[in-house]
Amino acid sequence: MAAPLPEPTTALASTLATAAPPPLPSLITSRRLRSQRLGRALRLWIPAGFLILMLALCFLWPLVYQLPSPTNGNIIQASEPPFSPGHWLGTDQVGVDIFSQIVYGGQEAFEVSVAATLIGIAIGATIGVVAGYFGGWVDAVLSRILDILLAFPALVLALAISEGLGPSKLHLIWALSFFSIPFVGRIARGSTIVLRSAPFMTAARLAGTRGWRIIVRHVLPSIIPAIVTVSLLGVGIVIIVEGALDFLGYGIPPPNPSWGSMIAQGQTVLTAQPEYVLIPSLFLLVTVVALNMLGDALRERWGVQ
């Protein structure tokens, strides 16, 4: 289905001809320029800072400070409100510290979603690059597979896998990677097709470089920005879906804490203590907002699409 490889002559001709006149020098004051630069830096570093903070909270904090157990609580200290001594976010109905549930649940959320996205990048990018680079029937077959994966309700698949194989972290990761594979695959294919007619690709082919070498040395480095930005959005989506699976009882196996299962448990006392639902939801929201904003900022900086 894809367009045939361009003739080297036309590609060369299009590089030699100057297509568009150079843009006019913009009339902009140095002050305006400085504030624009500052804005751009802030858009990148504020979400990045939040993410670093969340990661440090989840992974470093428990190494430095002794946290109460995230699974066992003291029933005498049950349902304590936030800011009580020893439990600064309070305790849940059976006396388990909420802050340490947030910390350990956050670890699970980050580990699972990053692992699932990495699998998605490994498999999805391979499929996408191969489809985009070789074109022809290879592209037709691989694109149909991606289409079916996209049209297939991935939540059904994830639920079926967790339900059938029993809840475990590894199954959860594989189930969630079905979200990221077609997602990354489509972007990788699109970016590769755009690259195919780039002058340096023609040059590499004319120099007699082998196909696989072109993919590894020329295609992959050029599509990495697109894949990184889309993966950041992907991690955000996967964290939300992971929470949904926890929420439905098919995620991180109990008694390990997770944000989704905290929301599900808080549901039972929604009227009396809405904070059980609100606290994990807030952490979830901040994390995903930071991921999305970082993805936007990097896309702007790298000029992806």
Binding site: R144, D147, I148, L150, A151, F152, P153, A154, L155, V156, L157, L159, A160, I161, E163, G164, L165, G236, I240, V241, G243, A244, F247, L248, G260, I263, G266, Q267, L270, T271, P274, V277, L278, P280, S281, L284, L285, V288, V289, L291, N292, M293
Partner: protein, 343 residues
């Protein structure tokens, strides 16, 4: 071709002529071609569902009969359900039934057709409610935002849509429940029965529709706003319209918005498929008696016929949604004529 036959069957003078003209219409041919192209995708999706459920360890009969059932009883039930046969035989039998309009019998003994007939309308109403409201709001907000890029409304819309993009639908649903159902008491917490009057329907479905619609509103607003801002800055016809003195609002609505609708329609069509997950979860949270709720019970019961039926319906909705989007392009842009040699 079926259409041709159908029209021919109506008989009467000139019917054959009309049929030929209908079959020759490029738009109809496009619809036919797209429906044909959808068949492999529908086939792949249902086959994949069957394959996943067959590959998983299967103890359906044991689960139905309980732990005390003897191996002989389990084997007997497996035989009646056809579960002792290889997977392609079962899939083939199911597919044969589907082609005759029969989606099979669920494990609870009900026909999947009747299950869908009672629960599908609720889900469709919920989806339509969420889609229409989020689209209307997105168009209004995006137009207001694009009128003055970087103005107050624009920044506010960016913040709200970023929140909508990042909020987990289930968490947002609980926030709505806490505020509007528990504190203010405007809407019921549980939408189990829809009632018969429009008022009770509205009351029961508003919070679920808002939970599904808010992320959609965020996506639509972001895309439409970005597209409209770009149009207003780049396109020649905008400059022309402004130069000949068209009022700013008119330029925005009649020129920029109309052309930005293409992007929006594409996104709406593509997004339909991803709604399954949100619908299933939100229907569970609010106990809405729709097929999303059925889907989750079906999965936890290993009820393959029920799950297959629902997956097929959702895949069909996606395919038809994309087709509708393509047809709407032609309505919006008279230059697009499907099937003609110039397009």
């Amino acid at each position: 071709m079926a259409l041709v036959q159908q029209i021919q069957l109506q008989g009467g003078p000139g019917a054959r002529d009309r049929a030929r003209r209908a079959a020759g219409s490029p738009a109809l041919r496009m619809v036919g071609r797209r429906l044909l192209a959808a068949i492999p995708v529908l086939f792949g999706v249902t086959l994949l569902t069957y394959a996943v459920f067959s590959a998983l360890p299967n103890d359906t009969a044991q689960a139905v009969l309980g732990l005390r059932a003897s191996p002989a009883q389990v084997a007997a039930l497996n035989h009646t359900l056809g579960l002792d046969q290889p997977f392609w035989v079962r899939y083939g039998r199911w597919l044969g039934g589907v082609l005759h309009g029969n989606l099979g019998t669920s494990l609870e003994g009900q026909s999947v057709n009747s299950e869908l007939a009672t629960h599908l309308p609720v889900t469709l109403e919920l989806l339509a409610y969420a889609l229409v409201v989020s689209l209307l709001l997105a168009i209004i907000v995006a137009a207001l935002a694009a009128r003055r890029p970087n103005g107050i409304i624009d920044r506010l819309s960016l913040v709200v849509s970023m929140l909508g993009l990042s909020a987990a639908p289930y968490a947002f649903a609980f926030l709505l429940i806490i505020v509007f159902a528990v504190k203010l008491g405007w809407f019921p917490v549980v939408s189990g029965s829809l009632g018969s009057s429009p008022a009770s329907w509205f009351k029961a479905l508003t919070l679920p529709a808002a939970s599904i619609g808010f992320p959609l509103f965020a996506v639509y607003t972001r895309i439409l706003r970005a597209d409209m801002v770009e149009q207003m800055q780049r396109e020649d016809y905008i400059v022309t319209a402004k130069a000949k003195g068209v009022a700013p609002w008119r330029v925005l609505i009649k020129h920029a918005l109309r052309n930005s609708m293409f992007t929006l329609i594409t996104v709406v069509g593509l997004n339909l498929g991803t709604l399954v997950g949100a619908v299933a979860i939100i229907e569970t949270v609010f106990s809405v008696p729709g097929i999303g709720n059925d889907l989750l019970t079906g999965i936890s019961n290993h009820d393959v016929p029920l799950v297959e039926g629902i997956v097929l319906v959702f895949a069909l909705i996606t395919v038809l949604g994309n087709l509708l989007a393509d047809l709407l392009y032609a309505v919006l842009d008279p230059r697009i004529r499907y099937g003609s040699s110039t397009s």
